[in-house]
Amino acid sequence: MRTFVGVDLGSTTTKAVMMDENQDVLGRGITNSRSNYDTACRVAGQEARIDTRLTLCRRALAGVGAIEGKVGDFLADLERTFRLEQFLEQLDDLENTCLGQVKGERFAKVEAAAKAALAEVFVRLRVEAVALFAPGATRRSDFFRDIAGSRYLGVAEQVAREAELSYDLLLNVYDKSIIEVENRPPSEDMGGKFMRALDKVLVEAPQFDAAGDEIKQAVADALDVELDEVYLVGTGYGRVTLPFSKEHIRSEILCHGLGAHMMYPNTRTVLDIGGQDTKGIQIDESGIVENFQMNDRCAAGCGRYLGYIADEMNMGLHELGPMAMKSNRPARINSTCTVFAGAELRDRLSLGEKREDILAGLHRAIILRAMSIISRSGGIKDEFTFTGGVAKNDAAVRELAKLVKENYGEVTINIDPDSIYTGALGAAEFARRAAEAGAGGDAS
């Protein structure tokens, strides 16, 4: 099958989209960008391939009568179980790497104890993992580093106490290992993991026993489809660090414009709030960029600002929006300087303002800044599409909707649940067009 890949190497996350010849999105993948775009690109690509396999499974299972009407649930189970497999594999890697760090003078007297403690930590993490990937479980993040990291800290503290070992020692071992593990290319044995996951799902779903072989065959067929990655286009801040030749690079402005157009063909104005930049883009009826404005000398009010706030409040990034939504009286905050955010926050907390009101005020402040960038790019025309990581945040969306109405009246505001992939989608479409136009080969 001919596929086309777009990779958006953002400052916070790296996204990949795999598309087929009919412009249908087959799979999407995301990972944190770390400081290593090479790995981020590989991981996001791998994730998009996994997602593509799930799409192909969906297509293949559509023909299996026994699970008709239940394909969605079945695939959700399959994916969950696959993710658990993947997580456990990465835990193994992390454990081995941690053990490898237990050496040298620091550990001279406690080597055996430290190794035993680590083994215990990982035993507990593995037990816990099952619950983390249970049906309906919510995770603070989908990234290995975040899930494993937060749980490791908790479990290691407990184990260290029980073993009368220094917690710092275990922490240090982890800190040294996680970067290495994170930057290791993902294991390629995707098919094996899928089939192991499938076996587990089938064991837990006796109702499909009769059709077991048929399902297995369908999944195996889907896994066997050869994916020919015909053309790849990279975009985003990290693009220049990758060995992509020039034809394989597109500006993120163009990719976001085209991506938004593909999601909502009537789009004329796009707002993208990413990790370190905010873009206001005007596009025409074909998705061609007419004008754009970006923040330039300063990244105040970008997505990273919310990341900072989350760290300051010891919350997950995904938890900020819901808390801000509880506010009825947003605080009035003007400064959107990321570096000052912590001071602003502490100052207001000390004055007794409610956390939700402060958070709502902060969301409003970043949207106000975005409004200024949009107006400089030519204002908002109907339809208006909001993309980027911040578009997933309900509180930001609520403030945006209010300000759009106040300043531009009734305008259709589009937010795709997959809006974080807008740039990668545009890039994939550029890849498809380049291949159609007869440009050669893959990027490497």
Binding site: S251, E252, F292, R433
Partner: protein, 438 residues
């Protein structure tokens, strides 16, 4: 090859006119450094609407603080001068030319060529459109306790120079400027000497205009912004009206003529530019602290600037103005009144629209300068209007003159690349579609 070796062996390519100008500039700074010994008196003045011919009539050396700031910016010295000035209490938002100058003075007033600069005997403010200039000279006056002359230039609010405005300027020249210069210098004013200088100016101006307009060729033999900044050096500095300047522009013109004949594009610091892919009109001053890196972002992508407003900052010659020996004081007045930033927004829009069309450019790029209100005010509006009138895409980037802290290469490059790709995309959309498009 490792970077250090590459750096050591990498030579910046300069053409003959650049080397010639370099010699002229070195001579200029030598003369300034020797002012104490030779007994020469010194005038300080600014680039827009500068009255170099008049200054020369009084045997005064012309020391231009803006040029010093630019030269220090190019030599990466301005950053520490700016901070020195901030230490003295000048805010972050003040024009960085001013701060570079004040910082340099605070550090002993050693000029960009490493030689001391003389104290001024007179400060001549010949363009009042920039309020910062006035404040700048106030500070210098306080420091040097010297004469200050202010020639008030009325703003061309209605887009034209009226006889009344011209008369007002001439009256000031006769009653204020010339008598003060006579008093400071001890030299009697001779209008025929002025006529001679103006005659010389007009020759150089003809050649400069020819060179700048050579960018109408395809490919353009020059870059009218990055290269253009070199070309305007003599005429907007201390050389207009001298034979040196006339020679320089004659030489430059011949050089450019030869490039046209050979079908060559501009000379860049890395040698001849490759294929000309994008033709741009640029509005606003450049960034000087990363001048070469900035330029490289253009020529590496095949972008050449075919016309720019900054190369008209000292005075505008494109539309026929020349210094006129038959009407010496009137033509000095017209020169001051006609400088680019003294034009109202509709005039600036007309001029830039005209450039996009006449030079067959792909669009307008604005480099907005953080600390220059003279240029920056109204630029977004200008952009919209030019875009609307020409139907060509425009883009906006932001940097600073000589404060290295306000040049963010990754961001600027990102925007420029986006802009070039946007032009490309627009072109492609006008060509018949290839294959099945969305």
């Amino acid at each position: 090859m490792n970077a250090a070796v590459a750096k050591a062996t990498h030579e910046v390519v300069k053409d003959g006119s650049m080397l010639k100008q370099k010699g002229m500039m070195a001579g200029h700074y030598d003369r300034l450094a020797a002012a104490g010994e030779t007994g020469s008196k010194v005038a300080c003045t600014f680039v827009p609407g500068n009255l170099n011919e008049l200054i020369m009539c009084f045997d005064l050396l012309n020391n231009l603080p803006e040029v010093n700031a630019i030269q220090n910016g190019l030599r990466k010295k301005s950053g520490s001068f700016v901070m020195e000035a901030e230490k003295d209490g000048h805010s972050e938002d003040v024009c960085t030319y001013v701060k570079s100058d004040l910082g340099m003075i605070a550090r002993g007033n050693i000029g960009p060529y490493g030689k001391p600069l003389p104290d001024p005997d007179v400060l001549l403010l010949s363009y009042t459109g920039c309020f910062t200039f006035m404040k700048w000279f106030e500070l210098l006056r306080e420091r040097y306790n010297c004469e200050t002359i202010m020639l008030h230039t009325p703003y061309k609010g209605d887009g034209e120079i009226t006889q009344n405005m011209r008369d007002y300027m001439v009256k000031q020249l006769k009653e204020e400027v010339i008598p003060t210069l006579e008093r400071v210098s001890g030299v009697k004013f001779d209008i025929d000497r002025l006529r001679e200088y103006l005659r010389e100016s007009a020759k150089a101006e003809d050649d400069l205009v020819w060179v700048l307009q050579s960018a109408k060729n395809k490919p353009s033999p020059i870059d009218a912004y990055f290269g253009g900044i070199y070309y305007i050096g003599p005429i907007f500095g201390a050389f207009r009206g001298t034979e040196d300047a006339t020679d320089y522009y004659r030489y430059l013109r011949a050089e450019v003529e030869a490039r046209i004949q050979q079908g060559l594009g501009p000379v860049t610091p890395d040698g001849d530019m490759g294929e000309e892919k994008y033709r741009l009109v640029v509005e606003g001053p450049p960034n000087y602290t990363s001048f070469r890196d900035f330029w490289k972002m253009f020529y590496e992508e095949g972008a050449v600037v075919v016309a720019s407003s900054y190369t008209k900052v000292g005075g505008v010659y494109d539309f026929g103005f020349r210094h006129d020996p038959d009407h010496p004081l009137e033509s000095l007045a017209d020169y001051c009144l006609g400088v680019y930033t003294n034009r109202n927004l509709p005039e600036r829009v007309d001029m830039l629209t005209n450039y996009v069309e006449e030079y067959q450019a792909d669009g307008l790029l604005i480099n907005s300068i953080k600390s220059c209100n003279s240029f920056s005010a109204g630029q977004l509006l200008i952009m919209r209007e030019v875009e609307k009138r020409t139907g060509k895409p425009a883009a906006f980037i932001e940097t600073d003159l000589v404060d290295p802290r306000y040049f963010s290469p990754a961001n600027v490059k990102n925007r420029l690349e986006s802009y070039f790709q946007m032009i490309e995309q627009k072109r492609a959309s006008k060509r018949p579609a290839v294959g099945a498009m969305a």
